[in-house]
Amino acid sequence: MPKKIENVGCPYCGVCCDDLVVTVSDDGKKILEVENACAIGNQIFHHATGSERVKLPRLRQPDGTYKDISYDEAVDYAAKVLYNAKKPLIYGFGSTNCEGMAAAAKVAERAGAVLDNCASICHGSSFLAIFDNGYPSCTLGETKNRADVIVYWGANPAHAHPRHMSRYSIFPRGFFTGKGHKSRKIIVIDPRHTDTAQVADIYLQVKQGHDYDLFDAFRTAARGHEIPAEVAGIKREKILEVIEIMKKARFGTIFYGMGLCHSDGRNHNVDIAISLTRDLNDFTKWTIMAMRGHYNITGPGAVWSWQYGFPYCLDLTKKDIAHMNPGETSSVDLAMRDEVDAFVNIGTDAGAHFPIEAVKHLRKHPWITIDPNICMASEISDLHIPVGIVGVEVPGIVYRMDNVPIQYRKVIDPPEGVISDEELFERIFKRLGELEAEEAAKGPAKVAPVSVRAEE
């Protein structure tokens, strides 16, 4: 008899839907049906048992092919790469649990590595703005129950966070928002007329790269000063109309995405959005929230801030001093400036997401990919270590986009012999300790580091 598992968390986007119902075959080996999830979340579950999985670590051979090796050999190889490099980079963590992130941080500290997560090429600029200007935010539940004006700025949840609008922002009926979308005003600000813009009451087509100017106009208008006849492609009358709606709201939330974080100015766009939110709180209640991408990309920010005081771009090469300065210690900058000499890609796909020049620089040195699936990064690596899929085969804590921790569960077992990210990093940590002890036993004459390549 197939088993129905209820209230399962979805390991896809930052919305972290926790109302999924997964039907598993009676032998517990196959996922038969996934209810309530969006098309992408659905696919993640079915992919786990519906396709051929890599079950053993694979090491690149001199002829360019992969050869299966044991987990012990893979752990030894990874530990030696990290140990011998002068400045290794461990990057990723968008799609793993907080337990894995904490274990990886232990490894990074012992190996003297740079520890970075996907925020580095995503919402990292939000962190910088938050450092500078604070974060007047709320939980998604508050938005659902209270908000009557919603702004999506540079975000397209219709595609990137498919259930965000129906669960939290536009359509749900909350405690004080019993009329659902009928009682809500939706404002979408984006250079492109996206599918999200289709459901908006007001759509402002801001000139690409001029969001900062438009925010400045909103702030200036909110304080009663004159603004030019047109700012960033938007007419003065429209700006005044929108700021009036914002001032008269009972409760509003600005959701922003990559349109602010990754157009010219980056952190300053978010910074001034936070300033506008603060200004609006002179009139009514307004909040702001980053549309975090992966289901647990908020996790490393929470875990590492607790461990080291910084959420990302952590330079732990001095071991007892954590240093953070994106632009210098951020993954892409480190790669482009040839500043790292080993790379570990975990729970993400740097091969697909990084600029090709950065990938070429990183590829000069040993490259290890830790991922359940075959991806672009796994195909150009020296070593690919498969692990269980968090949220499907491995349980753990994940942080939703509003910094709410949720306990995820597993619905099936991982393929036989496949271990979790946490166990893998714990084993690498142990092996690093053994290498340190061996080196210490040899005496003070430490030889110059020799890089380890699969070809050798």
Partner: protein, 266 residues
């Protein structure tokens, strides 16, 4: 004044962190002792002498010590960081954080520098003959008390985020500046002799900015209030005077709000 000459003979494979290369650390040390000071290449700590040949001894104090750097220091960071006195001359290019958090003395770079130079500066003088990267004279991440004093002069162009959170001191850019000048500024002066791309004085509370050329995208929060005749960095000219950022909070002094000033040459 005694001169210590460092010549980069064995360049690093990665980047070299040379926060110990300051007159303060070299003062009172013989050449052989200077060669034993720590520098970092990633997690690897090595003596300075591994990468540089050291000639000459340091003076008795930082004031009496001059450091000359020869060879290609494009991949050497943090030269002159936190220095309080003395002089550093870099004959070519240098990397990031040159003169970061400096309190006194003088640094002269004859080539270009990368980002984060002169960040958190409190005093002294940083002169760059070439171009500067981003975050010139800016505040460190998350620090809302930026540059406090001192002078930065860049003959060439500067990148973006110049003088973020500036509180005092002067920055003179001979060429053009990219976006964001004096964002969140609460004092100080920035002079751009070329053009500025945009977002000049965004979220600025107090302080002055002069732009001799054009501002490609002026902010809506700045309003023209008149014209003034002024001498700026030795050049006389007529400037249009704007106040702003009107979207930002402003302190009140003697019953009147205090705004930041932006001057563009007419």
């Amino acid at each position: 004044m005694k001169t210590v000459t460092l010549t980069l003979t064995n360049p690093p494979e990665l980047m070299l962190e040379g926060q110990n290369i300051t007159p303060d650390n070299f003062a009172g040390k013989k050449a052989a002792e200077i060669a034993t000071l720590d520098v970092w290449e990633g997690k690897q700590k090595s003596p300075l002498g591994k990468y540089f040949t050291v000639e000459g001894d340091g003076g008795a104090t930082a004031e009496e010590t001059k450091i000359v750097l020869r060879g290609d220091c494009t991949r050497v960071k943090r030269i002159g960081q936190q220095m309080t006195a003395g002089e550093i001359v870099i004959e070519g290019n240098a990397d990031m954080y040159i003169g970061g958090w400096m309190k006194g003395g003088k640094i002269h770079v004859k080539g270009n520098v990368d980002s984060f130079c002169g960040i958190g500066m409190e005093g002294g003088e940083l002169v760059v003959d070439g171009d500067a990267g981003h975050h010139l004279g800016s505040s460190p991440r998350g620090e809302w008390r930026g540059m406090q004093g001192g002078v930065i002069r860049v003959a060439g162009n500067a990148g973006n985020d110049t003088a973020t959170f500036i509180n005092g001191g002067t920055i003179v850019i001979g060429g053009d500046a990219d976006i964001h000048i004096s964002t969140h500024g609460e004092g100080g002066t920035v002079i751009v002799k070329g053009n500025a791309k945009g977002r000049v004085g965004g979220q600025m509370v107090k302080g002055d900015i002069y732009v001799f050329g054009e501002i490609e995208n002026p902010l809506p929060g700045f309003q023209m209030v008149g014209e003034v005749e002024q001498e700026v960095d030795g050049e006389k000219g007529r400037f249009a005077h704007y106040i702003g950022d009107l979207g930002e909070r402003h302190p009140v002094s003697k019953g009147k709000p205090v705004y930041a000033n932006l001057y563009t040459r007419i």
